[in-house]
Amino acid sequence: MIAFLIRRLLQGALVMLTVAFIAFSMFRFVGDPVTNMLPQDATLEQRTELQERLGLNDPLPLQFGHFVTNAVQGDFGISYRNQRPVSDLIAERLPATMEMVFAAVVLSLVIGIPMGVYTALRRDSWLSHLFQGLSLTGISVPTFVTGILLILVFSVWLNWLPSFGRGEVVEIGGWSTGLLTVSGLKALIMPVITLSLFQITLIMRLVRAEMLEVLKTDYIRFARARGLTNRVVNFGHALRNTLMPVITITGLQIGALIAFAIITETVFQWPGMGLLFMQAVSFVDIPVMSAYLVMVSLIFVVINTIVDMLYFVVDPRLRVDAGKNTTGA
């Protein structure tokens, strides 16, 4: 167990270092921040001087070394754009993104699981076909189109929901939440729907497939043979057996949701990490961009490791060839 854990942690560290390096070297090429930081009629002298001071003229390995040493201590430097520590900026934006992602996960489970169960149990009813059709549409419409259409209908035509922002937020111990105010909750609706459409479909299809598999197993047949009611069999036995993969996938998808939030946050002007990242890209705010990628990768690595550990604990077969096996996504 310990050896397995250590191995996973080492792998995680290696992944992080690779990501850090890719992120770092990529950002060397995205543009020159100096033009954004100086007035347009700045002199040549001022420009080269600023480049010098930002360390943009140091040799690359040196810059990378600096970056990693500081990053390990949680110091990603000062944002060129906001002139505040990047770690503060990310800490401020984290709640906005996490709340949206969390709400999207809940929504996708609450809607996706019942839809999946229903379509598995009543495979040929018209409602199942409708759900199937809807779910296909859900994964076929690009997120940005969904978001724009929602704004058009619910903000511009009907004027029910705000088209941007988070509404009013309440600060609780350094965590700003929009879940406690009416305007905050209203602001959450459209971004969460946009973000979760894909997930709902994914969960629904997963539950349906797993249910169908499980319903075919001998275990369920025996349960039925024992004279248990359909209800007990379907929900007590079959559904319970499908939940493990659902939870795994949901866990792994959190990372994907954080990344997809880039598009949703751009469309809805949601003041989260994705928006921070996109703004940083257009300003060439290198410290923010690198920090975002490293942070997101860290979240992935942590979630993956946790999922792996869970599997390790739950499924004894894995312990035999732990090194080789995959997470099963």
């Binding site: 543009g31 930081m37 347009q40 700045a42 002139q83 505040r84 900026l89 703004q279 257009s282």
Partner: protein, 524 residues
């Protein structure tokens, strides 16, 4: 409690109290990007400085007619050519109640011109600042310099004691990994007080009841929200979430006009959009074969005359732009209406010129454009590419985001590239003459990677920089513009329009510098 939480808690309290007040006059407005920092010496970005002008004030300011008028200084005179004496306003207090004195001016100007200061370039001529008495300061210059007042409009005054208390006497230096207290906190003399700030979400100001000037506005609260997406910003205005917005996309103007209850404010902007022609490389990056046709005056003129600016104005700019032959707008000192006449659109003449220059079959060329910077930037380039194609110049449009675009262009890697120049913050023709049309040397020519060089212009610029007499100075500027116009080192296109929109209940002045001055605004 962290300071941010404390202010937030206080805001909540304040909001509860404020909503109780009967005469709440709030204005909520949006622009494309956030105010970057609360530190007025932290960056040199125009929209941020314009916003901070509500909280902090300079010695002299622009009024709504864009004329310089007294602000924290009531009078000034050049005691010697390189020493200016400023008389300060008495009875002004900072938001925290402390009095405004000469000490504050000295400390603020020293902070702004500190070697680490990012806005040092905004005060290029200031050598030293000296307190004479409690309400008089002397500003020593490097030499003769006619534009000191213009420069001072962008440099705001902070309280010395306050800066001292919070270790903010030196400017923030991003390269040293520090942040300044002043980045997140304010203490100015301006008409409004910072209430709360959530970066990229909302910045709220309330009224400074102790303001020294007579308030023309009737506001009690200002809420600023950045909304980057054009479509979202317009829909926020239409749905009443905001009262006013800058940067109205051209295609949405008619929609706002048709919706009842909204007004469109528009004025020709200061920013002139131009194409720079790269004469420096032996061969062009995108042309493939040898030679640099842009070195030929005939070719440059052919490219100029092949562009149908009327069509671009009518179709792409929906009639809102002002076609330009000079690289500065009419509002900029040094503008000369007589020179501002474009070479006519004439594809036949253009083809002729190409043939005479030895390119009867044209050539191929790259046209580099930003795609997120100017009004319809990318579309304009595409339209120009189509027009050039018709005279046989095969044009490849390379559109990138502005950061990449500048990097490529300023390193000399672009054949022809688009850029805009508003002459801000200086607001004078000298700005573009010295940085774009002068050959790169000393502190000049930072935006002239194309290697345009005319010794006469260089000499004129040198003389303009120290000219004493305003008439003489303007005459020399006109001379320099006439020289450069004939040589076509760049192709001026147009001044892009400034378009704001607001609901009908708001009255506020709009100036060509695209700066919002809400101390002139009233709300019904």
């Amino acid at each position: 409690m962290k300071p941010i939480e404390k202010t937030l808690a206080m805001t909540l309290l304040a909001t509860c109290v404020a909503t109780g007040a009967a005469q709440a006059k709030t204005i909520t407005w949006a622009d494309t990007s956030d105010v970057y920092s609360m530190d007025p010496h932290g960056q040199a970005i125009s929209p941020t400085l314009a916003f901070l002008h509500h909280i902090y004030e300079p010695l002299v300011r622009y009024n709504k007619e864009l004329e310089i008028e007294p602000a924290l200084a009531t009078g000034w005179e050049a005691v010697e050519p390189d020493r200016w004496r400023f008389t300060l306003r008495e009875g002004v207090t900072f938001h925290d109640g402390s009095a405004f004195t000469a000490e504050d001016v000295v400390a603020s100007l020293e902070r702004a011109t500190h070697p680490d200061s990012p806005i040092r370039g905004n005060l290029p001529a200031v050598a030293k600042v000296e307190k004479v008495d409690e309400y008089t300061v002397d500003i020593h210059l490097n030499g003769n310099y006619p534009l000191l007042l213009n420069d001072l409009t962008n440099v705001y005054v902070l309280d010395k004691t306050w800066m001292d208390e919070h270790g903010a006497l030196n400017p923030v230096d991003p390269s040293k990994g520090e942040q300044s207290y002043a980045t997140t906190h304010t203490n100015g003399t301006g008409p409004f007080v910072l209430d709360t700030r959530r970066p990229d979400a909302e910045t709220v100001l309330t009224v400074n009841e102790q303001w020294w000037d007579e308030a023309e506005h009737n506001l009690t609260r200002i809420e600023f929200t950045p909304i980057a997406s054009d479509a979202t910003r317009v829909s926020a205005l239409l749905s009443g979430q905001i009262d006013m917005m800058l940067s109205v996309p051209l295609q949405d103007i008619s929609r706002l006009e048709n919706a009842s209850g909204f007004q469109i404010l528009e004025t020709p902007g200061l920013r002139t959009i131009m194409l720079a022609l790269n004469q420096s490389p032996e061969t062009l990056a995108d042309s493939g074969e040898g030679g640099n046709p842009l070195r030929d005056l005939g070719v440059r003129k052919a490219l100029y005359q092949a562009i149908n600016m009327e069509l671009i104005r009518d179709k792409l700019m929906r009639g809102k732009s002002r076609n330009a032959a000079l690289p500065v707008a009419p509002a900029v000192p040094g503008y000369d209406a007589e020179l501002d006449e474009r070479f006519p659109y004439d594809p036949e003449a253009a083809r002729q010129l190409l043939a005479e220059a030895g390119y009867p079959d044209g050539f191929s060329i790259g046209l580099d454009c930003p795609n997120d910077r100017y009004v319809r930037d990318e579309e304009i380039c595409q339209a120009i590419a189509a027009m050039w194609a018709r005279i046989g110049v095969e044009t490849r449009v390379n559109a990138r985001n502005a950061s990449n675009h500048w990097q490529e262009a300023l390193n000399g890697g672009s054949d022809v590239w688009m850029f805009g120049w508003a002459t801000l913050p200086m607001l004078d023709s000298f700005s573009i003459l010295s940085q774009v049309l002068t050959s790169p040397h000393d502190k000049y020519g930072a935006w002239n990677p194309g290697g345009y060089e005319n010794p006469e212009v260089d000499e004129l610029v040198k003389r303009i920089s120290v000219a004493q007499d305003e008439q003489e100075r303007l005459a020399m500027i006109g001379e320099a513009f006439a020289l450069t116009k004939a040589e076509v080192p760049l192709i001026p296109l147009h001044q892009q329009p400034l378009i704001w929109a607001a609901n009908d209940g708001i009255q506020l002045p709009q100036t060509p510098d695209n700066k919002v001055r809400l101390w002139y605004a009233t709300v019904d």
